[in-house]
Symmetry: C2
Subunit: 410 residues, 2 copies
């Protein structure tokens, strides 16, 4: 994990006297370090953290306002696994979108403090010291920290940029050892935007069964796929239901990043175990955010509720932003090459600037062009030489950021 | 830890194949199991989970409503350690209430998903496999799970009921070994309501310095002390600042249990480490709840803001409820003996019913009297033979619960 140490050395040296092994070896993701660094640099434009510019839709906010005035339970703990009504709505939505015959909302789901808590708690539930977990490289940086927190060993399987960052099940199969406990699969993949195909994912399912592994599924960007690229979910394969730990989120689909509400879907046996971690870390997901999530899903039936309309508008808006960012990158072929994202709201260009590390490159852009980006090595070794650009910001801001980059390069 | 296995055996047997060691050995706290069990028993009255009946104060809810209509940032991630304005308000409040000369809000605080996340993340940051952590017994049950999650060894130092559950620093000193890493101190103590004295806590500080330990301080009920009992905080002892990991909460003070917002106060070095865990588990505390917390503290100056008024009303109301519950217990001297709580909103009576375990006793009251309580052994071995009663409910409900218990006993 060479690039990891490069990345860490870019931070300040740390005094870890008395600090546990698990925490000594993890780090705050560069995705969050960059905005903190940037908060000291006045006047930055952000292509950094994945925060869509859009407000949480009004119908959701108004439902919360109504409840704040009429329902005292909105301020109190919910049942620890979540509000039963919300869990029913989640089950209905997930059965529809993933073509699952039946989900028991009482035993096969719990509501978490964002998809992030579901991922961290899920990984802590299955990974012991020394267990190996296979990740694509690049991958979402927090997956790496979550494995290290559980004292497991991240094993990176590189994706080939020349191959559109596509998944190579054979390479994954070759990485399996006796110590392999799980795979982590994120599609659309943060940071590259690749969407893995049904054929590839069915092979992953076969590998999971063959080697008796768990598969942690991060479906944060499930709804956001461009150009009619087909989206397929591992949750649609009933044979691996007992091996799946899936984390889903309201953050991106309903522009609710700050509400911290998501959920886990898994077998009854697994949910029972993960709930112990949820209990020790969170008690319950924020009740007010569970109300908001229930409002969001009440407006969603796959046809014409206000939730569907808000998702459609978001996808349209993100499509325009993706096209804008790609066209701006296309004007800088000397500096950047990239694979066009099929989903999500990130693009992961490779830069041409001698031997400079991605952290130094991102810091240079921050200080010299006043544009926030995220260094590619935060996403695994294969990310070195790249930066991640989020196109969640408004078009005017995206243009401003690229105008600054243009001037900086000139 | 005999009582722990008694408690666990009351649950269903578990299939922990493939589950990590840390999660195999923890459990969902009985505090949360009881409401889940009770949700299958229609018509229960609750003396169980610590949820005050009071709404979140109107001035807080209205401030949130205003922001939901005017400030799009309420729906988005905050900076990972929390909203700077809120952290300034917290620092000001903590300097005033704990008589601390200076707190740097930027480096010595972070906003967490409830006090619970601060506790869990703090313990995971300092406790390694095999480290010993000293707890009072009884203690808040989640402290035990959080130590076990970090693969540490809880070491219980019994409090003497005959001595009013008071802290015995000498007994703590005797429990220290070479493997001791930290103490956990909670005052007012959940579940007994004892408030530890300044003299006792100063001795604890001396022990911490002498043995180079950390002290995890749970101050969830700091504001809720009865009968002019003096409240003293370990945070007021500057000599141990580098050894302190303090978890504080908005949940009880402002009737905001469901909002999941609290914070950690610790040294800059420690905060930097714990933020890594916060990053991997939460990203940030819910932004909407941070807005609510900022509104709460904006109304609090120790004199006559709406926040102070709401806290005063809450203390008055809880004083009446405590007196009511104590007078009802006083009518049942054959069944219950108890120490009158000096703080918090729990009483921890000992029952006289042969050799029945506290879990069986709590289940009997649940099924036969339809009253939710929490079995005492969830709070450590010394809790066996007791139940915890919360008096957060309205007086009519408290009376109804005791009417049922009276009839059940008759």
């Amino acid at each position: 994990m060479e690039s990891r140490s490069v990345y860490k050395s870019a931070g300040q040296s740390e005094d870890t006297t008395g600090i546990s092994r698990r925490v000594s070896q993890i780090t705050v993701s560069a995705i969050k370090q960059m905005p903190l660094l940037a908060s000291k640099v006045p006047g930055c434009v952000s292509l950094g953290q994945g925060i869509p510019s859009h407000n949480t839709p009004e119908f959701i906010r108004e439902a919360v306002i109504e409840a704040l005035r009429s329902d005292a339970s909105i301020g109190k703990y919910s049942l620890q696994p979540g509000i039963p009504k919300l869990k029913e709505l989640i089950a209905r939505d997930l059965m529809r979108t993933r073509k699952i015959d039946f989900i028991d909302p009482e035993t096969e789901l719990f509501v978490s403090c964002g998809g992030m808590e579901a991922l961290a708690a899920g990984i802590a539930t299955i990974v012991d010291r020394g267990d190996e977990v296979i990740l694509t490289s690049p991958t979402y940086s927090s997956h790496i920290e979550q494995i290290l927190f559980a004292e497991g060993e991240p094993k990176f399987v590189p994706l080939q940029e020349s191959d559109g960052w596509s998944l190579n099940p054979d390479a994954i199969r070759k990485a399996i050892t006796k110590k392999t406990k799980a795979l982590i699969i994120c599609s659309p993949l943060n940071p590259t935007g690749v969407v893995f195909s049904e054929a590839q994912l069915r092979e992953i399912a076969a590998i999971v069964l063959e080697h008796n592994l768990f598969v942690v599924v991060d479906e944060t960007y499930d709804f956001l796929v461009y150009d009619d690229v087909p989206y397929f979910s591992l949750l649609s394969i009933p044979e691996i239901k007992d091996r799946i730990i899936a984390a889903c989120s309201f953050s991106k689909r309903y522009c609710m990043t700050g509400w911290r509400v998501g959920y886990m879907y898994a077998s009854e046996r697994m949910i029972k175990q993960v709930l112990k971690v949820h209990d020790a870390f969170a008690i319950c997901a924020p009740t007010i955010s569970q109300f908001a999530a229930a409002a969001a899903l009440s407006g969603t039936n796959g046809k014409d509720g206000p939730g569907d309309e808000s998702v459609r508008q978001l996808v349209d808006s993100m499509t325009r932003r993706r096209n804008l960012v790609c066209s701006r990158l296309d004007r800088l072929p000397e500096m950047f090459s990239y694979v066009k994202p099929e989903g999500g709201y990130y693009v992961f260009p490779k830069y041409s600037m001698g031997n400079i590390s991605s952290m130094d490159f991102a810091l240079k852009i921050l200080h010299e062009a006043k544009v926030i980006t995220v260094p590619g090595n935060a996403f695994g070794p294969t990310g070195e030489g790249h930066i991640r650009l989020s196109f969640g910001a408004e078009e005017s801001e995206l243009n401003e950021a690229f105008d600054r980059i243009d001037r900086w390069l000139a």
